[in-house]
Amino acid sequence: MPAKTSHPNSSKTLLPPTGLVWAIARKELLDHLLSVKFHVCVVAMAVLLGLSGFVMYRDYQLRMQNFSVMRERAKPRPAESGFMVVVEPRLLSVFAKGLDEVMDRGYTVTASYGIVAHDRQTSAVSLFALFAPPDLLYIVKALLSLIALLFAYDMVSGEKENGTLRLVLSSAVSRGQLAAGKLLGGLAAVILPFLALFLAVLLMLVTRPTLALGSDELARLALMLLAMLLYITLFFSLGVLVSALARSSSSALIILLFLWATVVFAIPSVGNLIAEQIAPPPSAETQELLRRQAFVKNRFLAIQQNRSRAGSFEGFNQEYDRLVEDHRARLEAMMDSSRSICRISPAATLTYIFTDLASTGLAEQRRLTRALMNYKSQNMKALTEINMRYVPAYSAFEFPPMRLGEVFRQGVLTDFAILALTSAALFTGAVVAFLRVDPR
């Protein structure tokens, strides 16, 4: 029996097109695995992820300790003018601290002078205010993007300089296959070690008793991981694109470095400042002064009109609620325009995705304000009655994290779509630029 003949166009020496792509990808990956750059980058990644995991986990532990101390102290005693409520640190703030530090403190809720936020734990050491927290979000946003660029900047221009590009292109390999193979191989060289390291750090953290992750948290983490992969692909593709367009690999590197600084740091910050120009945020100092004045005025008027202390509450609360409402409306207008502007930068989009998924984002802070105001009005009767000898029945303050479905409705889906589309566009751009590259 004669052997079955294969496809007439294929020969023994040539692999089928997809096999060829895999072969190129594997060669690219192996090349990276043996390079100094790869080793240095992997060591850096390991150190950064490990350090960040350790430091942020310990920080969370400290905040949880403070939280339990505060919760113990928060029980109302006779003679108080209000109730103290404490907001629990969010579990996933270990990975994206976001606004957690702003939210997880004590609040005194009163009928006579509104809601007073207590000092933040970090306000004692102002260094915290100067430098961003080194959480996973920061490491991925600022440093992993840089590593992705370092893997990509000489992918085309380096081969062109060495003359190997001409050699490869003169073989039977098509440009499309070469482009696909090299991009996939290079991407794998960044993503695989990152995945391995990330999972190792995660495994180390979840075995800790304080950090018991449920299925909800794991789903959120999986979504964060998806966002990270999209983000890394985006920067890698950008690197290849510039590498294919630039004259030399060193000029590609220089252009990419400054582009990186612009995208990661400049655009979100400048965008935010521009949003403040469009919709100026209300001054916290002014709001604070007006709250105090409302208290002084209403008590003064009540005394002048021979009304009791409780007689001043209604007037005060009308004034105070309006003040908070007005403040929040202006703040939200500013935050909305800031969000729209900053989305130009994938780094900002990643920040929104991470903080929203970790329940440490802008939407969660809005929710907290509403929850506290609702708590005040629900307990108004008890707040009015509490005195030297008597603590009336009151409801406990509950503030569970926003549900995942709700998080999606708040705009995370849009952020994901933007990130995916930008990555896809840049990936296509990189392939096209590769196809058109002049190998001379």
Partner: protein, 497 residues
């Protein structure tokens, strides 16, 4: 020859793509941030004065001694040196909802552009200064000239440093021009000198990164290796060490919960004090033969302290000791024995409360002091750890010079404390003066405060600011010097083949 080499380096850098791209980006960022920061300054300044005017109007209508303390809080106007933002103004932290954006994206200003973009530019200018010449084969050529290796290195360093001088000068001029035109602010002589000092500190900071990259280019013979090493060093120094040090320090020196402290202080100075005061008072009055009926009233023998035999008991409200009722006043006036008893009772109770108040406020002070010293310890440690990188000393120095740093805040707090004491004295003096005119005048009655002392913030003079930043400038110079020594040693051992 040396000068020629310096000029050649300068020319090469100025015409290079990397310099032009970097400078362009830096200038765009400085200009945009100067525009928005000036507008922000004008807005904050308007808010500041509007707040003052509003407070004046308010006090004209509703001022009274009892609750006015929370309103008269010293505040300082926004710093006219708008190009460096520094620490946020902390006066509004009790607000329910603050602007959260700076927590998510640290705002861009001149200091952050220098900290990131200019330091990157410095690294990019220096990382292949020596080894690329070897790769091109020009290093051998240079070495056959009359110049010694040290002189060649010095010439390369001087050329690079001059480029940084030019680049930073361009950024400063652009930023300052925009701020002056946009915000219409006036800089005093001290402010102008401070701006110049920020420029000098920036130069030292960029110089330290340039010299570090130069050292790598003299140690590694291949520029592809030195670029990676320089970049990783840069990432470590700019993005890792500053951010991680406060968190590491927090692990070493623990600061107990501030919320728990505030809660405990409130307990010690109010409820615990009241309980102790009542206990002490009840013991004191028992000596005089009185019996407490409740926390508000007591029963005393009517004729105590003189006449034999009680003719009937008197129920005294606690507040009778401060403001006796009309019936009681008549009794005191008409019955000398009862008056003596009443005076004695008042004196006993007053001394108990004075003692309890003193003890409790001392206790509170001790608790606060213990907490503060822990917090100070953590602050000092994290500041010390962070100074392992040149970025934090640069940030500390530039914020201090721009009146938005730690020391400036502390100095403001001292001034604010002194003012609050002076205002408290004024307030009581005014109250007693009103009471002298009208004995029925109470702490809840309208009290005209228009003659009160006004708080004016006195910023530190330039010489004080300079003294504050000298250690930081010294650290930056030390970085540059150490890197330079390393590059000299590296270059002397450099294999040119």
């Amino acid at each position: 020859m040396f000068v020629e080499l310096v000029l050649k380096e300068l020319r090469d850098h100025l015409l290079s793509l990397r310099f032009q791209v970097g400078l362009l980006l830096a200038l765009v960022l400085v200009s945009v941030s100067a525009f928005v920061l000036s507008a922000q300054y004008s807005r904050e300044n308007r808010d500041f004065f509007a707040r003052h005017q509003q407070l004046e109007d308010f006090l004209g209508k509703y001022a009274h001694l009892n609750r006015v303390g929370g309103l008269i809080r010293p505040s300082r106007p926004p710093s006219p040196l708008v190009l460096v933002r520094g620490l946020p103004n902390d006066a509004g932290t009790e607000t329910l909802e603050e602007n959260p954006m700076p927590n998510l994206f640290p705002p861009v200003d001149l200091a952050s552009v220098v900290a990131i973009v200019f330091s990157l530019l410095s690294i990019v200018l220096g990382f292949d200064a020596i080894n690329s010449e070897k790769e091109r084969g020009t290093l051998r050529l240079v070495l056959v000239s009359r110049l010694r290796r040290f002189e060649i290195l010095a010439a390369k360093w001087t050329g690079g440093a001059l480029v940084l001088v030019v680049a930073l000068l361009a950024a400063w001029l652009a930023g300052m021009a925009i701020v002056l035109v946009q915000s219409g602010t006036h800089w005093s002589r001290d402010d102008a000198l401070s701006l110049l000092a920020v420029w000098a500190v920036s130069l030292l900071y960029c110089g330290s990164f340039f010299t570090l990259a130069l050292a790598f280019s003299a140690i590694f013979t291949r520029s592809s290796v030195s670029v990676l090493t320089s970049l990783f060093a840069w990432v470590l120094l700019v993005f890792v060490i500053p951010n991680i040090s406060p968190y590491l320090a927090a692990q070493v020196v623990r600061v107990p919960s501030i919320a728990a402290l505030q809660r405990d202080l409130q307990y010690v100075t109010s409820e615990e004090r009241d309980n102790l005061g009542r206990e002490g008072s009840s013991r004191a009055v028992e000596k005089l033969g009185c019996v407490w009926l409740s926390t508000h009233s007591m029963e005393c023998p009517a004729g105590s302290g003189g006449r034999q035999g009680a003719t009937g008991k008197v129920t005294l409200e606690f507040q009778d000791l401060d403001q006796p009722s009309e019936a009681l006043k008549r009794r005191i006036e008409g019955d000398p024995a009862f008056r003596r008893f009443y005076e004695q009772l008042r004196k006993e109770i007053e001394s108990v409360w004075t003692e309890v108040n003193r003890r409790q406020s001392e206790k509170a002070e001790r608790m606060e002091e213990a907490w503060r010293s822990r917090a100070q310890g953590q602050f000092r440690l994290s500041k010390g750890l962070s100074c392992a990188s040149p970025l934090p000393p640069f940030i500390y120095a530039s914020t201090e010079l721009s009146l938005t740093g730690f020391a400036t805040r502390e100095q403001f707090e001292q001034q604010a404390g002194a003012y609050e004491r002076a205002f408290g004295d004024y307030l009581w003096a005014r109250y007693h003066a009103e009471q002298a005119k009208n004995p029925a005048f109470s702490v809840d009655d309208f009290l005209n405060m228009s003659t009160r002392p006004r708080f004016t913030y006195v910023p530190p003079r330039f010489s004080e600011r300079l003294a504050e930043i000298l250690p930081f400038a010294g650290m930056l110079a030390g970085w540059t010097l150490a890197s330079f020594v390393v590059s000299v040693v590296g270059f002397l051992r450099f294999d040119v083949r």
